[in-house]
Every structure is written in C-alpha cells, then in structure tokens.
C-alpha cells in the first residue's frame, strides 16, 4: 500500500507541474480575445449535392459558417491570421491568462 501511495503522489506532483502550464479553468469568454476565426473557405470545395443534411456534423458546419458570414465585420481583424498553427497558438494563449 505504501509503495503505491508514494508512487502515486510523485506522479501527481510531476503531472501537476506539466499540466498547470497548459490548462486552467476558464470560462469560454476568456478565449475570445485571441480567438481564431473558422476557416469556412474549406467548405466551398465540398459538393453540396453530396452533403447529408441529417448528419449532425454537416449541420454544425453549416451553422457555424452561416454565423461567420453574419459576424464578418467583427471577425475581420482576426480572420487575416486564421491559418496560424493551432497548437502552438493555444499554448501561448494559455500562458497569457492571469488567474
């Protein structure tokens, strides 16, 4: 039992250290500042006649991209850099949050 406990606690310490760098509890609104815009150009290449409108994925995609058309004005500044590398960007984002 003791061994397990020691191993366990050491793991928790190591992992907590790694983990605290990249994740923090957050409300969605905290992400808005550095938010990436959806790149709906990717939808244009799709053959609309082959889309299954009962597929939740397709419906979600359509909905999101409809929303983007309407929100274009506000999203314009961030749209230019929409192709930045997701992973690196998000880790950078997390570093900036102050809690």
């Amino acid at each position: 039992m003791r061994i397990k406990q020691i191993v366990k606690h050491s793991f928790i310490a190591v992992v907590a250290a790694a983990f605290s760098v990249v994740t923090q509890a957050h409300d969605p609104s905290l992400h808005m500042k550095n938010a990436e815009a959806p790149n709906c150009k990717a939808m244009e290449g799709m053959d609309h006649s082959k889309m299954d409108m009962s597929d939740p994925i397709i419906r979600a995609l359509m909905k999101k991209c409809m929303a983007q058309v309407h929100a274009e004005d506000g999203a314009a500044e961030s749209a230019g850099s929409s192709e930045k590398s997701g992973q690196a960007q998000h880790e950078a984002d997390h570093g900036q949050h102050k809690h």
């Binding site: 003791r2 992992v15 790694a18 509890a25 808005m32 990436e36 959806p38 990717a42 994925i57």
Partner: protein
Amino acid sequence: MGWVKCVVSGLLLVVVAGLLVAWSGVISVAADQPHDPLTYKLLEFARERSIARAAADIEVPDLSDPDLLLAGGPDYNDMCASCHLKPGQRESDLSLGLYPAPPNLSLASAGQGDGDEVQAARRQFWVIKHGIKASGMPAWGLTHDDQRIWAMVAFMKKMPQLSPAHYQILTARGDDEGHH
C-alpha cells in the same frame, strides 16, 4: 488465538518490507520508464473496473444535437487537444511525455468501448468529470458543469470522422458571440 497472531505478524512483515523497499528508493517514478507489463496490466484492470462500476448508472442524454458539437468543439480544442491531439496530428510534447500516455482521441479506436455506445459515453463522461488519479488526466468536473462535459463527449464521438479543416471550423471560437 494463535493463528490470528500469525496472520497479524505476517501482515506487519509485509508492511515493513514494503516500507523498506519504498525507503530504499529503488522504485522508479520516472515517466520515461514504463511499468513492467504485469504492473501495467494490473493498474489498467483496476482502472477499468473502477470506472465501469462508478459510471454504471449515469444517464446518457441525447448527443446528436449539432449545437452540442459547436459547444464541445471549442472546449475540446482549448482544454484537451494538447494531450489528446486532433485530426491530422500524431503527437505533441504532452502526448509523448506523459505516462500513462493520453490516448489519441481523434482516432476511432480510442475510447469508444467495445461497440457499446452508451457505455462508451458513460465512461468518457465519468473520466472527464472525475479525472484519473496518478495520471495526467484532470478532473474537469470541479470547474465545468455536466452540460459542458456532455457537449465534449458528443464532440469526441464525432471527432474521428472530422477532417482537419472541419475540425478547425467546429472548434474555432472566433465569432461565437455574433455582432448584431
């Protein structure tokens, strides 16, 4: 009475021996040094039994609403992708560096149970909400309500079918607010 004494002192001996082994420092806690296969199997077995038991009575809501994908996608991307990856991504610092390794949840083979969708959803919900001790998997239920967790479960269910481009669209937070 004799045998009781025998058992007790036997147990004491085991405890002391265990303490000695721990004290000696020979047990490696390095994350880059895997358990031996037997230990790994044992821990895995205990984990699966524990989750199955704890999650058995969870009621799974309807997960087919597209809005759930739009809610769960951005959360997944912000909080989980660094460890659990995304379509088109094979590894990250955390996916490689953590032990036990976080499974690649963008692959159909990960976390979908043995074809039992309800059980798979229960299991994922429970793991996200409560986390897994002594692994890198945090308990997100302390800071996120059930609704948000179910949305991520719904998103993870669909993720293996998403291309990188579709993943980007569904997870972008860019204009959730709308500007009307």
